[in-house]
């Protein structure tokens, strides 16, 4: 004991105390505590506290296709201005090829087009102009679509009243959602499943042959009815005004119309809406949502107040959900759910209980075994093992890591593996005790000789754990975190705490000889 340096005992004791103190918030686990200290507790993963995990993919192909359609429209307009005849337009997966009637003005068309869409790749070959969506252009579309989608998704989730949602970009074209406490994600999925692109179009009632042939002339589109696929409308392709001009929408109830959504436009929207309704009295105005006509009432008088209602065959929930969607705005492209994992609170609680029992029983078994094999030294190692567990818990709490079910498995596994370092040390001490009789020298040699083996052995496990973190997803990461923390903590507890305890024991018990 005389030789045990004060700084070493001080470090060991203070680290152990810190480990125990910072484990307290996670052990008490007061969910709603605002106390600065008690807040440093473990976060429970969705698989333990219950909740939903959703992975959404932005359907970028739809956007690329839309952009190609825009190209076609723009080229048509430009050529009309330049009085050049277009013979044929070929839309391929990634490019639009336009065949012109003559080649004189083709360069001018190319230049005007480039003014509108900087960044696209344009190529002239005889009477052909090819317009290509190159990678950079696609990337611009992609990035802005994801950014917009994230924002809209966030608004919609907020409107749905979910507590503490996590919404973030994942990879190139995906959005990851974690919704703690959401037991039934169906409503959320409904909210996210709609693009909610709202536009108002004037209906063309005169051109009846277009509808009969199901062939829309340039500048028009054919859109089916929401409730009856066979009813179709011929509309002006250009929207009078769109959902982006809405400032408010809410579900309302009208004695004659039933459930409806009332909305209000911003100044610009109100002006446009007022102008169009003034000029088109007697015509019908179609309200189009995600490619279907909800309703197409006749304009009986000019609507200049900038507000109105949308009626349809809604119930109360549908009307209020539509209002939520309209308030949050339209998604740039549809979202597809590619992965979903929902856990009820019951299963989560069961998993925690089972994990605790497994950890406690594993711990007791290992402790009994260590005492049976190593006697007093085993008991000392058990103290290290218990402190080790406290340190893992306090580290998880302070770094704000998330504990998952595989994470609990990692802790239980660590209980078994953490004694390894102690075992290596004790086995070395056993060997050394055959070579000499000086008690403290035996212990010192034992620790020194075991050191490099402990490092080698634990670093290999750490490598596996770190790579698991890098490539793993969700719950599996929780496993690699607890395993890594466990391995690191076990090196500390064995090399420092067990060391300290063994020295203390030997000097207080005043051992003259050592038998292990």
């Amino acid at each position: 004991m005389k030789n045990y340096p004060f700084w070493k005992s001080f470090t060991v004791v203070s680290l152990v105390l810190l480990g125990i103190i910072f484990a307290i918030p996670s052990i008490i686990y007061d969910e709603d505590s605002e106390n600065w200290f008690l807040k440093n507790k473990i976060n429970l993963g969705l698989d333990l506290q219950g909740g939903s995990y959703l992975l959404l993919e932005v359907q970028l192909d739809v956007l690329y296709k839309e952009e190609l359609d825009n190209f076609v429209d723009s080229v048509r307009l430009i050529s009309r201005d330049q009085a050049v005849k277009i013979e044929k337009i070929d839309i391929q997966e990634n490019e639009v090829v336009v065949f012109f009637g003559n080649i004189e003005k083709i360069k001018d068309i190319k230049d005007s087009f480039f003014q509108m869409y900087r960044g696209v790749t344009l190529q002239i070959n005889n009477n052909k102009l090819s317009i290509k969506l190159n990678d950079e252009y696609r990337k611009i579309i992609q990035d802005s679509a994801i950014k917009q989608s994230l924002e809209i998704v966030r608004k919609r989730i907020d409107e749905s009243g979910t507590k503490e949602p996590l919404i973030q970009r994942s990879g190139k074209k995906r959005i990851l959602l974690q919704l703690p406490g959401v037991k039934n994600p169906e409503r959320i999925k409904d909210l996210l499943g709609k693009t909610a692109k709202l536009t108002f179009h004037i209906v063309d009632n005169e051109n009846t042959s277009a509808l009969q042939n199901n062939l829309a002339p340039f500048g028009k589109i054919i859109v089916p009815d929401m409730y009856d696929e066979n009813t179709k409308y011929l509309l002006d392709k250009r929207a009078v005004v769109g959902g982006e001009n809405l400032v408010d929408a809410k579900g309302s109830f009208d004695q004659t119309e039933g459930h409806a959504v009332s909305f209000r436009f911003d100044t610009e929207g109100a002006q446009k809406f007022g102008k169009v309704t003034t000029n088109n009295i007697g015509k019908n105005l179609a309200v189009v949502l995600d490619g279907v006509v909800i309703t197409a009432p006749r304009i009986s008088s000019a609507i200049t107040g900038g507000s109105g209602i949308i009626t349809g065959d809604f119930n109360a929930q549908e009307a209020s959900d539509l209002a939520v969607l309209l308030r949050a705005g339209a998604l740039p492209a549809p979202l597809e759910i590619v992965e979903e994992r929902s856990v009820g609170a019951g299963l989560g609680a069961d998993s925690i209980a089972a994990g605790q029992i497994a950890a406690i029983i594993g711990m007791v078994l290992v402790c009994i075994f260590m005492i049976l094999i190593y006697g007093t030294f085993g008991a000392l190692a058990n103290v290290s093992l218990i402190v080790n567990l406290f340190i893992i818990i306090s580290l998880l709490g302070t770094i704000g890591a998330t504990l998952t079910l595989p994470g609990i498995a990692g802790i239980v596994l660590t209980i078994g593996m953490a004694v390894d370092a102690n075992v290596l040390i004790f086995e070395r001490i056993k060997e050394e005790s055959l070579k000499q009789t000086k008690v403290f020298q035996i212990v010192k040699n034992g620790f020194d000789r075991a050191m490099s083996t402990i490092l080698d052995a634990n670093i290999t496990t750490l490598i596996a754990a770190v790579l698991l973190f890098a490539f793993g997803s969700g719950p599996i990461r929780g496993f690699s975190i607890t395993l890594s923390l466990g391995v690191i903590a076990s090196m500390f507890t064995a090399l420092m705490l067990t060391n300290f305890l063994v020295y203390m024991y030997l000097s207080f018990a005043n051992k003259k000889e050592l038998k292990l």
């Binding site: 759910i337 089972a354 083996t453 670093i459």
Partner: protein, 299 residues
């Protein structure tokens, strides 16, 4: 204190290397059978890697048979399984597209609504995700193996690295083979278990190799076979102790840790046993291929 530590003598002298031919034959057979099983029967892939829908429900006043009857009238690819006890039922469905499966979950829920106390969990993994997860799992295992090897190669001579690879490949294949026979569900958690086994097995091997290296310096005249035997014996009680404590914890996890974690615990138990075996009987004998000392080359 209790004298139990005398069960394993301090200086055991068991001729492990003498048995190496028998164990080599055993392991080679096991590996061939494993490869055969993996290519013919394959693994019982869970929805993480196969894609599909999984719903866990707790039920009342019903039986698995009744639920199966209700569901199989609407779906022909539905499979049901009791999960832990007879009131908890796991429903699996294979579906092709993302959109389809979202509707599936809803309609399954509607069909069995009145028989169910609680929908405990529902999982859906789309086809693109499942193939990505499989690829990333494969990537993780490969990178981990390479990184571990580089570490061993830096810390030891390359011959040890070779021994470690052989043992590690053996462990992974053997474990996968047993998973195939036992029809254990192969999921993301299984990949984590395999990686942990790799770490554990190497850990075990490294401890013995450490001793081999030390003894190579210490006993310059000893025959290699005897020296390897000595090293295995030196570290034998540690090898056994650590495996046993790890197994104690894992068995506790297997029995008490709940149904969801059971395949993980089982995979780890299998892996720890194989990893311990291979460190002694595969990794060390592999070193005999190499001549570690100049004088050996004269033989």
């Amino acid at each position: 204190m209790f004298g139990l530590n005398k069960i394993i003598p301090v200086e055991p002298n068991i001729n492990f290397l003498g048995l190496r031919r028998n164990f080599l034959i055993f392991s080679i057979l096991a590996i061939f059978i494993s490869i055969g099983l993996l290519s013919i029967k394959g693994l019982n892939l869970g929805i993480d890697f196969k894609g599909g829908t999984l719903i866990e429900v707790s039920t009342k006043n019903t039986s698995i048979g009744e639920l199966r009857e209700i569901l199989s009238s609407s779906y022909n690819d539905v499979s049901l399984q009791e999960f832990g006890n007879e009131n908890i039922i796991l429903i699996r469905l294979q579906n092709k597209s993302n959109q389809e499966s979202i509707e599936t979950v809803n309609s399954v829920k509607n069909l069995i609504q009145d028989k169910v106390v609680e929908f405990r969990r529902s999982e859906f993994v789309g086809p693109t995700i499942s193939s990505e997860l499989l690829f990333r799992g494969f990537q993780a295992v490969s990178f981990a193996l390479i990184a571990i090897l580089i570490y061993i190669w830096l810390r030891f001579e390359w011959q040890f690295g070779f021994g470690a690879v052989v043992a590690l490949t053996h462990d992974v294949l053997f474990t996968l083979g047993l998973l195939s026979i036992l029809n254990v569900e192969f999921s993301l958690a299984t990949i984590a278990a395999i990686l942990t086994i790799a770490g554990y097995s190497i850990n075990d091997t490294v401890v013995i190799f450490d001793r081999v290296r030390e003894n190579l310096r210490k006993y310059k005249k000893l025959e290699l076979v005897d020296l390897f035997n000595l090293s295995v014996n030196n570290t034998l009680s540690r090898t056994i102790m650590t495996s046993l404590t790890t197994l104690l914890a894992l068995v506790s996890l297997f029995i008490f840790g709940g149904e969801v974690i059971r395949p993980f615990a089982l995979t780890m138990i299998i892996g720890v046993i194989i990893g311990t075996y291979s460190s002694v009987f595969i990794a060390v004998p592999t070193l005999l291929i190499f001549k570690f000392r100049p004088q050996d080359e004269d033989d």
